[in-house]
């Protein structure tokens, strides 16, 4: 491969793509590999959140993303895309879901259509890494609650205060500099200096 294939145009994926595919050991070779992935993609579209081994999920993720992005790009009137959907979705009612549910859901999104999480692996159990693969906007409760919004955590309280102090100091510095400049430029305008400092001090008062 020395030259990009120009016969096709594909939208950029919003996920990190491995440079090479995984072979996902299969007796039927590449065809069997695709069948394996078709099952996963079908399950993903059907259940919207699935738990499975990491490698297979990571491989299937790209296919699912491309399938959705193609569906968004071409719509359901495009024969080749329909053929694709027919191939990738083993249960045919899901073709309908793809075009009528998922396409409107993701039409205006700027981020990837799927999410993937590393899942803990059972111990003792099979050694392989596990993961959770889900479509964005699924009806299930979120897996990783976002804790970064809690501003009452101790370090956030400390940082908040540090930030306020930093801003105050910065403003004071700025005011001083401005005052110095105005003094240098026109030494006969001391009236301006308190004016610039005034709001800053008044700001300080309520905080303290």
């Amino acid at each position: 491969m020395n030259q990009a294939d120009v016969s096709k145009l594909i939208s950029q994926l919003r996920i990190a793509v491995r440079p090479n595919k995984r072979h996902l050991k299969n007796v039927d070779g590449p065809e069997g590999r695709l069948l394996k992935l078709r099952k996963t993609v079908t399950a993903l579209v059907k259940h919207e959140r699935i738990e499975l081994f990491y490698n297979r999920a990571d491989e299937a993720r790209g296919y699912a993303e491309l399938l959705i992005s193609n569906a968004i790009r071409h719509g359901d009137r495009h024969k080749a895309t329909m053929e694709l959907a027919d191939y990738w979705l083993l249960e045919k009612q899901l073709v309908h879901k793809l075009f009528k549910v998922l396409v409107p859901r993701y039409e205006n999104s700027n981020i990837s259509y799927t999410r993937m999480f590393k899942a803990p692996r059972d111990y003792p159990g099979i050694f392989y890494r596990k993961s959770v693969l889900e479509l964005r906007g699924n009806p299930f409760p979120v897996l990783t609650p976002d804790n970064s919004q809690n501003r009452n955590l101790l370090h956030n309280v400390l940082l908040d205060e540090a930030r306020k102090e930093f801003r105050r100091e910065k403003l004071a510095n700025l005011a001083n500099k401005l005052a110095a400049e105005t003094e240098n430029a026109t030494p006969s305008t001391p009236a301006q200096v308190p004016v610039t400092e005034q709001p800053e001090q008044s700001e300080e008062a309520p905080k303290a």
Binding site: M1, N2, Q3, A4, D5, V6, S7, K8, L9, I10, S11, Q12, L13, V17, P19, N20, K21, P30, E31, L34, E59, G62, Y63, L66, L67, N70, R73, H74, H78, A80, T81, E83, L84, Y87, W88
Partner: protein, 301 residues
């Protein structure tokens, strides 16, 4: 723009799709092409800062797209390479051509100082990208088949003329090596067959006749469209083995296709960078051509 106009019609646009492969992008190409034209008119009307890149640029300048292998990519390198390519293109006219077009390449010959060598032939293959882009010309001279590999950006190349701009049914024509010699015989003193401005690049649907076996490659496995008599020489065992070698699932292997292409967003970025430069060069070339056509009748008169 003329170039845009010629891919407007639906029938024409289909010619861009290589028939061997089912394409999933024919429609947006048309859409983009259709969209490009009115926008282009807007450009002429009002001043839009971002140049709108015609959709067919990826076919005309495929070497501007980098190698899709992720491990080898680097944006700075690609940018420097593109700058060098543009610098070279400013020195020499490198016209639009495709596999199947007939070219004449004039290059300065280090083995005969002060002289140039001119080779006429059909382009049977185009490969590699960036400054490494190259193509293979084939011709039969004095009943002797000859092939020469040229690098597109080699600074010893003095002139690249397109004698006949056309495409063939396949995207590489190595089977001409096993075809009867008349299919790759071209007159060295061929006149330039100028295409109507704005006309689509015609597809030559000639089917070549192969010589009997032994062949250099197993053509029966490659689903060639431009070969007439392949059925004549294959037996059941060939048919069976060729059936076995087919990979019908590959047209559904989306990730494989993704890894072999440059995504549309990146293509746009790349061509937006070089588009203005290439466009001015194209215009310049057209002006030169017109001048030449004006000059000719004067000589005759």
């Amino acid at each position: 723009m003329n170039i845009n106009v010629r891919i407007l019609t639906k029938s024409v646009a289909q010619q861009y799709a290589f028939k061997r492969i089912v394409t999933f992008s024919t429609k947006p190409t048309q859409q983009a092409a259709a969209a490009a034209v009115p926008q282009q008119q807007e450009v002429t009307g009002s001043t839009v800062r971002r140049p709108i890149v015609p959709a067919h640029y990826r076919f005309v300048y495929p070497e501007f797209l980098p190698d899709p292998k992720v491990e080898w990519r680097n944006t700075i390198r690609e940018k420097l390479e593109r700058l060098d390519m543009l610098d070279r293109r400013r020195q020499i006219e490198l016209p639009e051509f495709y596999v199947g077009s007939i070219l004449a390449v004039t290059s300065s010959d280090p083995h005969a100082a002060g002289k140039t060598s001119r080779f006429v032939g059909i382009c049977i293959h185009r490969e590699r990208c960036g400054l490494r882009a190259r193509f293979i010309l084939r011709n039969v001279i004095d009943h002797q088949g000859i092939e020469v590999v040229y690098e597109l950006y080699d600074p010893t190349i003095q002139k690249v003329e397109v004698l006949r701009l056309e495409k063939r049914l396949d995207d590489s024509l190595f089977y001409l090596r096993d075809a009867l010699p008349e299919y790759s015989t071209f007159d060295e003193n061929m006149e330039v067959e100028s295409l109507e401005e704005g006309a689509p690049v015609p597809v030559n649907d000639i089917k070549v006749v192969l010589r009997p076996r032994p062949w250099l490659e197993r053509w029966e496995r490659q689903n060639l469209l431009g070969v007439a008599n392949i059925e004549q020489y294959i037996k059941d065992k060939h048919r069976k083995s060729s059936e076995k070698a087919q990979k019908p699932w590959e047209k559904y292997d989306l990730m494989k296709q993704y890894r072999a292409t440059i995504p549309e967003e990146e293509q746009k970025e790349i061509f937006a960078e070089v588009h203005t430069e290439l466009h001015t060069l194209e215009l310049q070339r057209k002006r030169n051509k017109r001048k030449r056509t004006f000059v000719k009748p004067k000589h005759l008169a």
